[in-house]
């Protein structure tokens, strides 16, 4: 019975749980957990994240400081919990602005074509010609290091992926029959674009934005690590890693725990992206 065998082979690869794909639930659970921690930070965190306790420097994980302390005697666990606020904010804003700009420009390029398309695609080529991180660093340095500059740089550099994605989708569906039908009802360009084309084209971008959040998060941490993003003594995971790196052989806990925090949050986004893609039938 070859039919039965292929059926089991297929379900064997696709773990599912409660009707939806498992990664969706797993990813949402991780993100939700971090979100709750971030919101409840003042209640949950055992210490003030920037309070320096001179008597408790470089303590390994113990009962008072579960994840140990850094070289200023600050509690790592509290800093990670407070840092979640900033890192979630980075992932959110770092995705939303590029998403909006890229979608708007990409759909115009795809729908109208012609010189608009040519100009936009050349701009995208130019942006892509620079290494991503170098371009971002250049913009941030010009603007003045800080989180808001990071968001501006992210928007200026990150929109290109969304623009290309949406443009490609619009190109495919703008010749679809239902668009002709909408035109035959007398609808103008903007109505067709925003009410009929975009809702059909946006799914891929939504799924992509989830995996993009991973990259943005790592970027934000990297930029902060380089001293261009969040400024000390604010608790942020990238800075914590940067500050702890000189103690990596003597006090491993200063860098390891923020690192694990980044990995779990990134995994949450990544799993959510996979799950969403499977649920909505979008393949990247």
């Amino acid at each position: 019975m070859s039919l039965v065998r292929t059926e089991t082979a297929r379900t064997g690869f696709r773990l599912s749980f409660g009707g939806g794909p498992l990664p969706l639930y797993l990813g949402s659970a991780i993100l939700l957990a971090w979100f709750v921690l971030a919101v409840l930070a003042p209640l949950v965190a055992p210490y003030d994240p920037i309070f320096q306790d001179g008597t408790a420097r470089l303590q390994p994980p113990n009962l008072n400081h579960w994840l140990g302390t850094d070289n200023f005697g600050r509690d790592i666990l509290s800093r990670i919990i407070w840092g979640a606020r900033i890192d979630l904010q980075i992932a959110l804003f770092g995705v939303v602005f590029p998403f909006l700009i890229g979608t708007a420009l990409g759909s115009c390029a795809g729908y109208f074509g012609g010189w608009i398309d040519t100009v936009l695609m050349r701009i995208i080529d130019v942006v892509l010609a620079f290494p991503f991180l170098v371009l971002m660093m250049a913009i941030i340095v010009i603007l003045k290091p800080g989180l808001s500059s990071f968001y501006v740089a992210m928007a200026l550099v990150g929109w290109v992926s969304y623009a290309r994605l949406v443009r490609a989708q619009i190109l495919v569906i703008k010749s679809a029959d239902f668009v002709l039908a909408a035109t035959s009802l007398g609808y103008g360009h903007s109505r067709i674009m925003f009410r009929h084309l975009l809702p059909n084209a946006i799914l891929g971008s939504v799924v992509f934005s989830m995996s993009d959040a991973v990259l943005v998060l790592l970027n934000g941490a990297a930029i902060s690590y380089l001293g261009l993003g969040v400024q000390p003594p604010t608790a942020e995971w990238g800075i914590m890693i940067a500050e702890g790196q000189s103690f990596i052989t003597s006090a491993w806990w200063i860098t390891t725990f923020p690192g694990i925090a980044i990995v779990t949050l990134a995994m949450g986004f990544s799993l959510l992206a996979d799950g969403l893609g499977e649920l909505l039938g979008v393949r990247e």
Partner: protein
């Protein structure tokens, strides 16, 4: 239909011409297409693939399938107003407002991510200034009129939740939403199975009877034409070659092409006999023959046919033919 309604001409197309430009050459796609459509009338546009029947309908709503194509001449008077001369804004009000389109494939011509009801209500709100609740009420009413059961609930259904026949009803509802004077139905039953096909044809004739809407019915199926149409225009190579009442054109076609088409119907032969065909291929764009475009395939061809293109002329009251040598009595052997 009462005779008084049939007397009122709602659309009058005169010498409609469409050309394709590109690569330095200009090709005639539609040539001198002229016909009248009366209120409450169903006019069939019949012809092979590429004969220009769909092109005619697309030219009327000025949505030609490629930007290499353009209307190069002619007028189309809708209620006395030439819609070929309107600006874009006025034309958008005509589309969907005065002329509704029904397409061949209902599965692909409905927006897959918008509910059926919203698509109808959107059209109503776009063309009439009514509120959201009123648009919804009217949309439900139209869904009921096109025979969709439980319209209140179906309003919130997506196209994929409908069957093929239901989707076609839904598309008719979208086209009807703004109470257009004319429905253009481009092969509306081709993608449906036979029983559903009969229901949709019945729905269209019912709508004509109840709402007095005129229908341009594009099809290649002569059987469908004889079921629903009042008059028929036969198209070949971008021209109307014969135009008249359904009975006259299909029963006593004057043009050799019409006669050939009728003879090709499987029902015309006796059981076991091979289905007849018209020999040769329809002309392709860029390779249109000189003179009468049918002459290379015509059984009655003469020298004059290859030089002079015949005009559409009155052969009998209400019956026009574009042929130098129209058939005066039934020829048995027009097709081989």
């Amino acid at each position: 239909m009462s005779e008084t309604l049939l007397d009122e001409t709602i659309l009058s197309v005169r010498d409609l011409a469409v050309v394709s430009t590109g690569g330095g050459t200009t090709e005639t796609i539609l040539d001198r297409v002229s016909f009248d459509l009366k209120r409450g009338e169903i006019l069939g546009l019949v012809g092979e693939s590429g004969s220009g029947k769909s092109m005619t309908s697309r030219a009327l709503i000025r949505l030609l399938p490629s930007n290499r194509l353009s209307v190069s001449g002619g007028q189309a008077f809708l209620n006395g107003r030439d819609i070929l001369a309107l600006d874009d804004k006025a034309m958008r009000a005509v589309r969907g407002g005065s002329i509704g389109m029904i397409f061949q494939n209902p599965s692909s011509h409905l927006d897959p991510v918008m509910t059926i009801g919203k698509q109808i209500a959107e059209s109503i709100r776009f063309h009439k200034s009514v509120g959201k609740g009123e648009a919804r009420r009217q949309a439900v009413d139209i869904l009921r009129q096109v025979g969709i059961p439980d319209p209140e609930r179906r309003f919130d259904a997506y196209p994929h939740e409908f069957s093929g026949g239901m989707r076609q009803r839904a598309m008719i509802a979208v086209a009807l939403a703004c109470d257009p004077d004319i429905l253009i139905a481009d092969e509306p039953t081709t993608a449906l199975d036979v029983t559903v096909q009969a229901q949709i044809l019945k729905l269209l004739t019912d709508l004509r009877d109840t709402r007095g809407v005129s229908i341009i019915f594009i099809t290649h199926d002569l059987g469908v034409v004889s079921q629903v149409c009042d008059r028929v225009a036969v198209m070949y190579g971008g021209r109307i070659v014969e135009l008249g009442g359904k009975r006259e054109v299909i029963g006593q076609g004057r043009h050799p092409y019409t006669a050939g088409l009728v003879a090709c119907q499987p029902a015309e032969g006796s059981p076991g006999e091979r289905v007849r065909t018209i020999h040769g291929q329809p002309p392709r764009v860029g390779h249109m023959p000189e003179g009468c475009r049918f002459h290379p395939r015509c059984p009655k061809v003469s020298e004059r046919c290859s030089m002079v293109s015949p005009e559409l002329e009155l052969a009998a009251p209400g019956h026009q033919v574009a042929c130098h040598y129209p058939i005066t009595q039934r020829l048995a052997e027009v097709a081989t």
